[in-house]
Symmetry: C2
């Protein structure tokens, strides 16, 4: 097992830098954070970091599969720690709160259902991205006419 972040980076042929380690920590500490909030967290930990370094680190880590990027409509990209377990997301339309939803249909849910149907015929599908849109409990309670 590789629970050591530095070791994790080395295993992926990446230099071990303070920035990357801090980004990695920030992402686990605050799932569903944006590049911006992550940058803040990183700065709180190691001082000055360029915005670009954060974007680079996030991009590289996503490429290597160490973290996952979610890009919901109308909001900046979010990053999270949980990878490889095919889960989906639910996002609140009014406050933007994001939650995880485990896939109810085994490994690759809707994925299998769609291959080679209709206009999508012939596509080689490698990922099914599912986002549930709705209203979170807090916003439901705050809504008028409730």
């Amino acid at each position: 097992m590789t629970s050591d972040p530095a070791e994790l980076l080395r295993q992926n042929a990446l230099s071990v830098t303070a920035q990357r380690l801090a980004v990695l920590r920030a992402v686990s500490a605050r799932p569903h954070g944006t590049a911006d909030t992550i940058a803040e967290d990183v700065r709180a930990e190691i001082g000055v970091v360029s915005k670009q370094a954060v974007y680079n680190a996030l991009g590289t880590l996503v490429e290597k599969g160490l973290i996952r990027r979610i890009q919901p409509a109308g909001s900046p990209a979010l990053y999270e720690d949980r990878v490889g377990d095919n889960h989906h997301h639910v996002i609140c339309r009014s406050c933007g709160k994001t939650g995880d939803i485990d896939c109810a249909v085994g490994e690759s849910p809707c994925l299998t259902a769609a291959v080679g149907i209709g206009a999508g015929a012939g596509f080689q599908i490698d990922e099914a991205e599912v986002i549930y849109w709705g209203t979170c409990p807090a916003c439901l309670a705050a809504k008028p006419g409730n």
Copy 2:
């Protein structure tokens, strides 16, 4: 039935303007177009149109449910004609080609599967957005090592 676009607008309490009619036509004529390509089509039809008018029209039409907006990660928003039939989309990672995929699981597919599970508990979900990512036939053929 209301096959007349102008009538459609009136039924939704919208003023009938040349811009809106042209936008409506452009969206049906070219499904999965971006605000930009739609603006081009509209200009080809009625001459000068401000970018803002196109965004306004698109926004309003989406609100009224006359067209649908899709916002794939890493690309501008796309608009399409087909509404109310709960279909999904497949997007090619290399060329961006977008296709429709009918839902294989009846009315609201993955939607029902998820309510009240895990961290998403308590959310009132109103839409399940599914995007399949992969490679289209053409790009598959063009790929090296094929």
